[in-house]
Symmetry: C2
């Protein structure tokens, strides 16, 4: 199909498609005579993925490009792709927002303390996590900010948040278990992680409304 | 203190502080003779809050300004502030990323179906949620994208994600329960919701690594 049709089918404006092509998020079309680009279902699917990651997942164009380039790399194994996309995602996402000042902060006393709090949590729960796992740093980053804001009640509730996270993670693993096609597995893990954050955030707000209503609503007579 | 000291104490560069002042995120300093602006601990605290929401929470400057203006409004009750910041946050955040095409999509058949899936979930779990709650739409938005990407396994696991969200929400309510100061209550709820999303995301990645290791690692001999 031509670009106009790709735009109609995907619902993404032509100018935006051209932008994704320039930025390397969307692979070029196949050149057909007389020198026109032609697009297929793989382009439609890629556009749907890009929009989901950026619109709902809130990922920047730079982060999305970095993640997609890993997924597209034929020289990486599935394990590497899973590690590089899912494992590093927190770091890529956090890195997009954090400036040099904040990165430098990670050597400070308060961040060392936060990292210790994470280590203690992992030990209490028996979670075996690689020393270099970016999610360790991401968790410590959040704890540092909570501490600076004096949110000690939230920090004290860390174990219960970890319990909620474990229920989500068990479900995540169930969702990918049994997928044999490697490309499908990597995409499912990526989408599940990024859109899963958005889904959990929305469900948490709904659950807050429910729990809050249960605790504070006047019971019906 | 002068702006140079505010920068040193808060760790935020002077140029960034000036940007927040221009954008209305940070209240102006008190004018002291001879016509110089003076800042105090409330400015340090506000800068810490802005950086936490933008860096770790990934909120845009526009969304942060909208949320802070609600918090600062003396004419709103605590209940209104909680509703407008926490309740609308999903919508404000989603609205920042979604363009007109995506908003129009909400009237489409696939979004109607996703909204029905959310309604059914709420009924199964006995969650009583306002018809106009923005989190309903946010959840349906994510389900629409998952459906478009063919992620039916994730959609089928919705109840278990809701279970994880309920554990988090119970904890959220415990964290704010007993806070009597109204400003502190509103800020705790705001920070807990926004940084809580980031904390849950990091903990979920750690839990994924743990669960994945437990299921696939060769047991030690």
């Amino acid at each position: 199909m031509r670009m106009a049709e790709l735009s109609r089918v995907s619902g993404v404006p032509v100018a935006t498609i051209k932008y994704y092509l320039r930025e390397g998020l969307l692979p070029a079309g196949h050149l057909t005579p007389p020198n026109q680009a032609s697009y297929d279902q793989s382009h439609v699917r890629r556009l749907t993925l890009i929009r989901a990651l950026t619109d709902v997942g809130g990922m920047s164009i730079a982060t999305t490009r970095a993640v997609l380039s890993v997924i597209d790399d034929p020289d990486r194994t599935v394990r590497q792709k899973l590690g590089a996309t899912i494992g590093s995602l927190g770091d890529l996402q956090a890195g997009a927002g954090a400036d040099k000042t904040d990165r430098a902060d990670r050597t400070g006393e308060e961040h060392v303390q936060a990292a210790k709090t994470v280590d203690d949590l992992l030990e209490r729960r028996g979670w075996r996590i690689e020393r270099t796992s970016p999610a360790r740093t991401a968790a410590a980053d959040v704890l540092t900010r909570l501490d600076r804001l004096g949110q000690h009640r939230a920090i004290a509730a860390l174990d219960r948040y970890a319990e909620a996270a474990e229920v989500a993670a068990e479900t995540d693993l169930d969702v990918v278990t049994g997928i044999e096609d490697e490309d499908e597995l990597v995409e499912t893990a990526l989408v599940g992680t990024v859109l899963g954050d958005a889904l959990l955030a929305a469900l948490r707000r709904l659950a807050q409304e429910h729990v809050s209503g249960n605790r504070y609503r006047t019971p019906p007579r």
